[in-house]
């Protein structure tokens, strides 16, 4: 068994620990904010609801995810692409980490000082302190450096292993980082060209429709940047953990390439209800959005095929007999499996959100908040939680104990119960019209708003249970750092049919990147020219 390079382990752990620190602080902000919204508590006058909301969104959605993902991808790149990180890759990883950390600290300070209460979507013409935008730029540029490290590691491996298909984990890490590079171009242009000069006062006005469009060009692939690492765990890691096989190596690669193609030219489905974009181009992007459902259908098939094949090989009988032989008491399987299961209703909700005019029923209601608390905060988060139970032991030379495993199972159940209450209430009350991102209010005791109250209280209770879940996972991370010494294998699955060769075209990056760019050009050129020609600009405002 190959042990994990200890120096690489330090880089991985730096990212993982930073991620869980962000989860803890973001969790405190989230729990408080949920209780305020539910009318359970009132904050002292010097703490604002919207400052907490901004901190919660930025720390959870941007910082926890990005740090965890980079740490996880580096661990897999080190393990599968050569057994240790090349000096240049490691250096890029550390520089990236440092730059993101400087950005995060500046950003959090500016948010807590109340200079950037613009939420994590920072829609213009609300104008935050320039340091907030600079902090964001540092986080993005830092993540680019980390991405370059992974590309470098991959290229060197390819050169040394001519003619061989790359390891599946390494391949998927490259797709994830490539998606991130292409997607962040939009937000980088928005922040560097539009927001920073404007917030410093070098230019007076801003094109609002353009800034929103650049944001959402980035905002939707962002959710796939969260999801793809979870899919890496499902495709590559889970089969090994349960003692099964990867259903098909080639189809796994194809599904990742489809994500690269279809997750980017779809940002308009977040802008369906807004002026300044023609119905035709909105619908064109709705069609492309539906295409991105296909690789998720492929993933669902592959996962359950892996489970059923394993069950049948163990002699399970009947249509669903294979379910019984799955290792339910192993948190490394159980937590990601609950994530997969919850992705079924979460994905269905997403199809509703993207359905053009049907979006009017749910747009900016708590339904949307409920939706992404199922996708990113359950499917992705539970998968990431499930990863730490083998990743931390593997990279630090320790072993998971049965007690920690049990606590992991409890943590997963606590998370599911809390999320059922919170997200379930959010979905329901959202359909009744209750808006998202809004502090406690009864709208002058309007009867419709009074009807929302019990659901909003249930949301607060769900939020408190989830906060207990955050404390439990932080406790588990600390215990894992102090687990008994030993050797833990880095689990990498093998394909079911090794004789099947993976087609070479799946690794022709130029081809796939070319198609991705062509689709982006198709979906965005005409609307962007239109936005630039019909420039309506607005001055900035500080409304908090």
């Amino acid at each position: 068994m190959k042990t994990f390079d200890r120096k690489d382990g330090r880089l991985v752990m730096a990212h993982i620990l930073f991620a869980f620190a962000a989860l803890l602080i973001g969790g405190i902000a989230g729990a408080l904010q949920g209780m305020v919204r539910g009318g359970v508590v009132t904050l002292p006058a010097n703490i604002g609801y919207y400052e907490l909301l901004t901190a919660h969104g930025v720390l959870m959605a941007l910082i926890f995810t990005t740090y965890f993902i980079i740490g996880f991808l580096y661990s897999g790149a080190s393990h599968t692409l050569g057994g240790s990180l090349l000096p240049a890759a490691k250096k890029l990883g550390w520089y990236g980490c440092l730059m993101m950390s400087v950005g995060t600290v500046i950003g959090v300070v500016v948010i807590l000082l109340g200079k950037a209460t613009v939420l994590y979507t920072f829609y213009a013409p609300m104008k935050a302190s320039p340091w907030f935008y600079i902090a964001l730029a540092l986080v993005v540029i830092g993540s680019w450096l980390s991405g370059y490290g992974i590309f470098y590691q991959y290229r060197k491996w390819k050169k040394g292993n001519a003619g061989k298909p790359s390891p599946l984990f390494g391949y998927m890490a490259v797709v994830t980082m490539l998606l991130w590079q292409v997607a962040t171009i939009g937000v980088a242009i928005e922040v560097v060209v539009q927001l920073i000069p404007w917030s410093f006062g070098w230019v007076d006005r801003i094109n609002v429709v353009l800034s929103r469009t650049l944001f959402w060009y980035f905002g939707h692939p962002l959710v796939y940047f969260w999801l793809l690492p979870a899919y890496i765990c499902w495709y590559v890691i889970i089969p090994k953990i349960i003692g099964g096989r990867i259903f098909s190596d080639a189809l796994a690669r194809l599904s990742f390439m489809l994500f690269l193609l279809f997750s980017i030219p779809v940002g308009f489905h977040h802008q369906l209800m807004e002026p300044g974009i023609s119905s035709f181009w909105k619908f064109a992007q709705v069609v492309l959005t539906f295409m991105v459902i296909v690789p998720s259908l492929m993933t669902a098939f592959s996962m359950f095929a892996t489970f059923e094949m394993l069950g049948r090989s163990k002699g399970a009988k009947g249509l669903f007999g294979w379910l019984k032989v799955l290792p339910w008491k192993d948190v490394r399987f159980f937590a990601p499996f609950m994530g997969m299961l919850i992705f079924i209703p979460a994905g269905a909700g997403g199809v509703i959100n993207a359905s053009a005019q049907m979006n009017a029923v749910v747009h900016n209601t708590l339904w949307v908040t409920g939706h992404f608390h199922l996708t990113v905060a359950t499917s992705v988060a539970l998968t990431f939680f499930g990863i730490i139970y083998w990743l931390i032991p593997a990279v630090t030379g320790r072993v998971l104990t049965p007690a920690m495993n049990r606590r992991g199972i409890v943590q997963t159940i606590v998370w599911c119960v809390g999320m059922f209450l919170m997200s379930g209430s959010m979905h329901t009350v959202g359909l009744m019209g209750s808006p998202r991102r809004t502090a406690y209010t009864t709208y002058n005791d309007h009867p419709d708003a009074i009807l929302w109250m019990p659901y909003e209280t249930a949301m607060a209770i769900g939020g408190i249970i989830l906060f207990v879940g955050v404390l439990l996972i932080v406790w588990n991370v600390i215990s894992l750092m102090r687990a008994p010494k030993g050797v833990t294998e880095y689990p990498i699955g093998e394909p079911a049919d090794k004789s099947e060769t993976t087609p070479r075209f799946l690794e022709r990056w130029g081809l796939w990147l070319g198609i991705a760019v062509a689709l982006i050009v198709f979906a965005y050129t005409v609307p962007l020219i239109d936005m630039l020609n019909n420039t309506v600009t607005s001055p900035g405002y500080v409304t908090w």
Partner: protein
Amino acid sequence: MHIHRLEKIWLGIGIAMLAIFLIVLGTMAFSMGMAPPSEHHHTIDPDKVSETAPFDKPGLTQTGDKRYEAVMVAYAFGYDPAEKMEVAAGSTVDFMVTSSDVVHGFSIVGTNVNMMIEPGEISHISYTFDKPGEYLLLCNEYCGTGHEYMATTIVVKQEARG
């Protein structure tokens, strides 16, 4: 690349369903007039909202039998006109809304009226209020400290009998 027969069936059903959804949505949007609110090329100088007609006099005007036009301005943190708008049940209201500062929302609870209001852009939507009652119109896009107070009501009165 080998694709298992069952996976072909699974993907075939999935893709066929997605295609049906899209055909339904597209038909409704483009031939039944149910496209999402996407007013295009109808802009205004956001600095001069209060001087530009019709937004210099926000309010409700009757434009036909049971048909009204509501000209409204969203601002941090409220909507103009400030006074309650009243229409008879069964009336259709054509809303024309812009913002005099940041981005706002425009959502009428219990209806499908839900759109974004952006500075410099004029958003349009029409709705027929069949049921009488006091409708809650609220901002559902975060717009600053007083966002949770940004709301108004539209009163739909029972028609006089006879």
